[in-house]
Assembly symmetry: C2
Homo-oligomer: 601 residues x 2
């Protein structure tokens, strides 16, 4: 059964307690004056309201949306029953505009709060999350690169959620390799462009939730150089605005088909045709990739959060079943003597699965909150050094968050299916939907393999490794400061060992990769995983110490902190050992990976 | 795209070359006189014919079967279009009866050949494979436990495939814990029983492929003791046979529903009601679990082969796409200068995925062939010591084959989706079907967690660890004999290290588990994986040496042996390191896994 209650206590912990902690190191980019109006009480109140929307409005539509899916008839895409009403409620409640700038009607909330809200929405209904999610990505690019005129007109309409947005990148013959794209943009006398071409995999490309849709389309100018250096970004509305600002005539954008997918069925994935559609340039000519990456990077962190969201929903649904389902007896003595059997949560192997999911979720949530803090500091820090460090950390961690969280979210969803046993394979249980829905997040916004290449190819070497320092520095400081910790010394040693493996791997890859870029590429996926494991280990070690201190000072919330300790220990016992495997795989180099002739496959 | 060509060369390698190899150790249970009529040429000819059936008859129905699914209307279950014709062709070709005893009309083929054929069928069409597969499981139990009268009547009809079979174990409230089952069997004056109860998840429980269906049903006699000690097995035909042996009146078996599942949609998974259905006891009263396990163990190895089958199909479909799809340029220089981009198989991270799948498939195929040899030796060996050793090896490896192969098959299917990128998430590509179909194999016939418990709880300690010796002995002999190998010494060292970790873990689990069975259960899943990794490492090290020798002696098939070498090296470089992670996880013990209060989840 799909059950979900927002993990507010853990969210409060990672927002208020984990970072900028005086005792264990200043890793949260310090206090940000600009955000001081968002007091802990206000933040908590917002999270509680978001939880209600997720639980009460979106969750009930998750399975029905999967069953019904989207439909395309006579060029019109319909979302499943209830989606329009839910979207209206969502929009009217101001949930589309949480993190956006108040000058465009946004609420200017800290990203740390915004990302928690995203997590809840994704837990409740991943398909739904795409509609406001892509709009938000679009506004980021428009805000950063569009002309004032475009901003003034489009941003308020998109930030409010009255109009939605899309990212039109992929074409049938090119996804990862956008250099090959063929969509054309021909300049018109009035400064606009006529955009023509076919795009595929366009999430929310067409639907019935908003009165207009603003497409951000990658296309080539007539004189554009070949490859990625000849790509420009255009804003192309579905309906051209009338003088009064309301949607006017259709703009040559049509839906050729919607895709039949493994999951995410309530999200309309469209094949769009642009036929002399009028658009406006966003950013400079031939610099579309820059603007696209602005939008894409925002989305990549959000896609990571999708993985976490599904992971949390899957975990809770598995826990529900593991407490409910009676099967077998505990090996340490009957636990449910009045029943015909014990609940399966008593069995160690079921615990293994639940604790794994739990550790993944808590680890990702902590790391996600750290990156969210950096997003806030990037925007609001007054100290240029802090700002720079935040930017570096975001650049470094964006691919890690995207790939790690979605890999683990998919694994969690599959563990939930396994906890349910045969019942998990049946659609009625709702958990197989999580496994199907989660699968896409490892692919879109750049496959997880592409994330890993971004990490080793761009982020690792950038500015002589400067990005790495934004992460390595707080971790090594923490290790130095806590190495002798009476209770957690061994935990810190394990962190130190994994961190050492990460540093060694960094050196190896940098050295080998300089001579032979294939060596770096061959190490990429394992390196990203290793970095993610170290980052989560750091978060857990610190969390354990904070929990210990709280328990020592007689907290009223002992149950929470005790559970945090147990989960942290489980992470070190059972998850972190994967770091060794990743390290050994990296060390092996590209040899056997590239040895086979293409013909021999 | 779903493409599949049976990997006949590798099959021939593991059947003819890998085991009973004089130079590298007698691990294939020696030559079996009873099977000498099956010359290598005959075996190869059978495999080639099986490949044609799989490729030409079953593969074309795989995707259409997934789209159409099974339907239930007025109590009648229909399989998808083409399935009936394919089944008739399959049956008439004698493919239902490959491994069965000639006295019942079977062909008495070596299991090593039979399992290869199963692999091909599962690669081509997993849903289809269930129909003949369950019949075969049923005949195993009938052959071993039923009365002569039942055998004489039912076996020829089932072995020919004219009638099919099912295993009716699960009930809504009990799957793993069969002790709770409620289906009743009331003795009648004529020696028969009236069986009543509700069963769920019955694969091939009802369909339109055969004129009768023979259900093997677990039920309780009126005076049966509680729990698993009060379960008996009954043979219950869908139609009671008339005096002339043809199907007569309906026997009170009805279909309440068919399940809507994540995948395997062309296999009818039924809820069956038995209402005073006439049946006959198979085996002794209250000893149904014994007979059930006979059937189940046969099925468990076959389910492992399902995982391998899907893994191979997924691999081939991914290779097809990786050679076809042009995207980006090779980091070591343009490989396809006349095209707009290079095929993605040039990219290291794509290679990583393909090689991982390839190594999984080859490793599983080798280990599967080893177990198949044991199945043959169990039946045909004349030396009682060899027979005993074969039985021990089967007992030990059955849970490993079931859980390891299905875990890896699912991982391969997901890697194939990843190689396809966004296109892999679209139903049209066919690869997401592999991921959905593969998912069930980790669950049915005992979840993979249950397999792991079987391994540590029953198989490991049995007869003071005697089963383990059937595996440990050839491995340690091989290590001793090849340790100084000039070319592969390091490979053998890595095997030795992993084998050492396995032995150490065995000791730890045995010792801790004696005092606290939860300790053994907490280690189970990692221990099973560790044993699987060591077994595959052994097979690969030996394969590499055989390949080296063949290459040295100027084989005409150099391409095959070179590829084998590369894959073996990749396994040691990139897969075997997981053994260290498993070892560390086992070492950590149950502490943090069991620490959390149930209420804290």
């Amino acid at each position: 059964m799909q059950v979900y209650e927002a993990p507010l206590r853990d969210m409060r912990f990672v927002i208020h307690e984990l970072f900028n902690n005086e005792k264990y190191g200043q890793d949260g980019f310090g206090k940000l004056e600009a955000l001081e109006e968002f007091s802990p009480d206000l933040v908590d109140a917002i999270l509680e309201e978001a939880a209600k929307v997720a639980q009460e409005v979106l969750l009930p539509l998750n399975r029905s949306g999967d069953i019904e899916g989207c439909t395309l008839e006579n060029g019109v895409v319909r979302t499943p029953k209830g989606f329009k009403e839910a979207y209206d409620m969502f929009r009217e409640g101001g949930w589309c505009a949480l993190a956006s700038d108040p000058q465009w009607g946004g609420q200017g909330l800290p990203e740390a709060v915004n990302k928690m809200t995203e997590e809840m929405i994704c837990s409740a209904n991943l398909s739904f999350s795409l509609y406001p999610g892509l709009t938000h990505g679009g506004t980021t690019a428009i805000e950063a690169y569009a002309s004032d005129e475009l901003k003034q007109f489009y941003l308020p309409r998109m930030v409010s959620g009255d109009w939605s947005g899309t990212m039109c990148l992929t074409e049938p013959h090119c996804g990862t390799d956008l250099g090959m794209l063929r969509t054309k943009a021909v300049p018109q006398d009035d400064g606009s462009y006529k955009v023509s071409g076919a795009k595929i995999f366009i999430s929310a490309g067409e639907h019935d939730l908003t009165e207009n849709i603003v497409h951000l389309v990658l296309a080539r100018l007539p004189d554009a150089p070949a490859g990625v250096k000849g790509i420009s970004l255009f804003l192309v509305p579905k309906y051209l605005p009338k003088d009064d600002g309301t949607p006017g005539p259709a703009n040559g954008v049509s839906v050729a088909a919607i895709e039949h997918k493994m999951g995410l069925k309530a999200s309309a994935t469209c094949q769009l045709n642009f036929d002399d559609s009028i658009g406006w340039l966003v950013g400079r000519p031939n610099k579309g990739m820059e603007a696209m990456f602005k939008m894409m990077n925002t989305e990549r962190v959000s896609v990571g959060i999708q993985g976490l969201g599904i992971g949390e929903a899957a975990y809770q649904s598995a826990v529900y079943y593991a407490k409910e389902r009676l099967q077998g007896r505990s090996l340490s003595g009957v636990k449910n003597p009045s029943g015909p059997a014990d609940p399966i949560i008593v069995h160690p192997d079921v615990r293994r699965m639940l604790m794994t999911m739990r550790a993944y979720n808590e680890g990702c949530r902590a790391l996600g909150a750290w990156v969210s803090r950096a997003l806030d500091a990037e925007k609001h820090a007054t100290d240029p050094e802090v700002k720079q460090c935040a930017e570096d950390f975001i650049a470094l961690m964006t691919p890690v968050v995207k790939a790690l969280f979605t890999d683990l979210g998919h694994e969690s969803a599959n563990l939930a299916v396994q906890v349910y046993g045969g019942h998990g394979y049946i659609a009625e249980s709702g958990v197989e939907q999580y496994a199907r829905d989660a699968r896409i997040a490892m692919i879109y916004e750049g496959t997880n393999g592409i994330q890993a290449l971004d990490l080793v190819g761009r982020k690792m070497p950038a500015h002589m490794g400067r990005y790495l320092r934004s992460f390595f520095h707080p971790v090594s400081q923490f290790i130095e400061a806590t190495k002798g910790d009476a209770q957690f010394g061994r935990m810190v040693e394990a962190l130190e060992k994994a961190f050492g493996a990460l540093q060694l791997s960094t050196g190896t890859i940098a050295q080998k990769g300089m001579k032979d870029p294939e060596e770096a590429a061959a190490a990429a996926t394992d390196y990203l995983r290793l970095m993610g494991l170290v980052a989560m280990a750091y978060c857990f070690a610190k969390s354990a110490m904070i929990a210990r201190d709280e328990l020592g000072s007689g907290t009223e919330d002992a149950a929470f902190y005790k559970a945090k300790l147990a989960t942290a220990q489980f992470y070190f016992d059972r998850i972190l050992p994967q770091a060794t495997a990743a390290f050994l795989a990296i060390k092996a180099g590209k040899g056997s990976m590239m040895a086979l002739d293409e013909a021999a496959f």
